[in-house]
């Protein structure tokens, strides 16, 4: 479904349900890669300025249907893709994505859209060089979310599906559907599965090992600031 990439850079993606620990891991990975002298760009799901106002209004007024939700998300991704992700990959940078097309495949199908249709919306997006899927039991993720956040939002909880009038119950039911979709994709897209219940530090060690292995023998775009320091060191 996804195309093959034509670029020098490397694309690393983390996936998993809310509360799976993926954002913590990619943040640590980001800092580590920067310290190693790489040129790294980080991109977050649903963060395009172009669609922000539309999306916010639609969420407030509960205007989305599963189809328009899916299309709006794809628009957001396309904007980030064309503006930042693709040019940076072409330039030879490392792009870290907190969620990628797989999030849309999981959530939108959990909302009831056709699996093939949503895949076709992202057919321009390449298969990442590394996709880390943080597998975590529903209860663990829900506990993390409930203890760390003030409140779950309407669409996050899948309230638009009418699964339950209770937000937490709806959230649980919706997230279980999302997990089911992720599990189906592990083989389809060759995701690397990580145990999201491990300690942060232990998990980060595995993440770094996987990334090191993937980057072996690859020469990307160096970070000019770090290169200057290295040269100085050589001349001394």
């Amino acid at each position: 479904m996804l195309s093959t990439g034509n670029y020098k850079g490397k694309l690393i993606v983390v996936e998993g349900i809310d509360g799976s620990g993926k954002s913590t891991q990619i943040d640590l990975l980001h800092k580590w890669l920067l310290s190693k002298g790489h040129s790294v760009y980080f991109s977050e799901w649903n963060s395009s300025d172009l669609v922000k106002s539309t999306s916010r209004m639609a969420k407030e007024k509960k205007m989305f249907t599963p189809t328009t939700f899916s299309l709006m998300t794809a628009t957001d991704f396309a904007d980030r893709w064309e503006r930042y992700i693709f040019p940076l990959l072409k330039a030879g940078g490392i792009v870290l994505a907190d969620r990628y097309a797989f999030t849309a495949f999981a959530r939108d199908v959990a909302r009831g859209v056709d699996p093939q249709w949503v895949r076709s919306l992202y057919s321009f997006a390449p298969m990442p060089d590394l996709t880390l899927y943080f597998r975590v039991p529903l209860d663990v993720a829900v506990d993390r979310i409930l203890s760390s956040r003030a409140k779950i939002k309407y669409y996050e909880a899948g309230m638009d599906l009418g699964l339950s009038d209770n937000k937490v119950t709806s959230f649980r039911l919706f997230q279980q559907r999302v997990i089911d979709e992720y599990e189906k994709m592990v083989d389809e897209f060759g995701m690397t599965v990580l145990d999201g219940t491990e300690s942060v530090q232990k998990e980060q060690k595995i993440v770094r090992q996987l990334v090191t292995k993937m980057l072996r023998g690859w020469e990307g775009l160096p970070n000019p600031l770090v290169r200057t320091r290295r040269r100085t060191a050589v001349f001394n």
């Binding site: 172009l50 669609v51 106002s53 539309t54 209004m57 639609a58 205007m63 989305f64 249907t65 599963p66 189809t67 328009t68 299309l71 709006m72 794809a74 628009t75 396309a78 904007d79 893709w81 064309e82 503006r83 909302r111 009831g112 859209v113 056709d114 093939q116 249709w117 076709s120 919306l121 057919s123 321009f124």
Partner: protein, 231 residues
């Protein structure tokens, strides 16, 4: 009542078994006289006792503000534009067109997704990919393609509203001035409509003739539809 068909999977979370109304689409490039014909059709159909909705004409409440802002800033690249317009179309289809059809209205739609696909492809989109996006789209009961040529379009615009930035494809700079860009861009759009004609079963009407002659043809097509699909 008649069966409901989609170009792809439709809306699996919200199955629609039947729709009482009829969806009639007028397609064709910019400045071909669609809105004039829709007004005439509407008046005629209402005289005949049909409830008519031309709700498909306007931008959707969901995307109106965002799309206008993006267009004014010229910040839309082709892929993003294609998906943003698809969002707009889906919102109108689900929240305006389908409810009107359920209520038994004759919906006159000024364009459908065919125009969007044509614009996408002229801007470099892959034709199959552009079509696949619209798997949710309802198949209209009748699609009338108002066929014209670039010379006739130019004549209409010179005597009408003049050349528009987007209608001239200036975002992709087909030429260094708006007139030449318009000629090239509209020629490419017409090419795409011709390609879609058989595939999507367009009924072609020569739109370069006087308004009344075109209207008589449209009326005949709509009458034919009502005879084929009695209510």
């Amino acid at each position: 009542m008649h069966s409901v068909e989609f170009y792809g999977a439709g809306f699996p979370y919200h199955p629609i078994k039947e729709l009482e109304g009829k969806l009639i689409v007028l397609e064709g490039t910019d400045g071909v006289g669609r809105s004039t014909q829709i007004q005439l059709l509407r008046r005629w159909l209402e005289d005949e006792g049909y409830a008519v909705s031309d709700t498909g004409l306007h931008r959707s409440p969901l995307t109106q503000v965002g799309l206008e802002a993006a267009k004014n800033g010229h910040t839309l690249s082709p892929l993003t534009m294609s998906l943003f317009y698809a969002t707009d179309f889906a919102d109108r289809l689900e929240n305006q067109i389908i409810p009107a059809l359920k209520a038994g209205f004759v919906v006159l739609s000024d364009r459908y997704f065919f125009s969007i696909i044509a614009r996408d492809i002229v801007r470099g989109a892959d034709p199959d990919r552009a079509r696949a996006i619209y798997g949710f789209a309802l198949k209209p009961d009748l699609v009338i393609y108002m066929r014209s040529d670039v010379d006739s379009l130019v004549a209409r615009l010179v005597h009408g509203r003049g050349f528009d930035y987007w209608e001239s494809g200036m975002d992709i700079r087909c030429a260094d001035n708006i007139y030449d860009s318009f000629v090239i861009y509209q020629g490419k759009l017409i090419e795409q409509f011709e390609k879609m004609s058989d595939e999507f079963g367009f009924v072609s009407v020569d739109a370069t003739r006087p308004v009344q002659a075109v209207f008589n043809d449209l009326k005949a097509q709509v009458k034919g539809l009502f005879e084929r699909l009695p209510d």
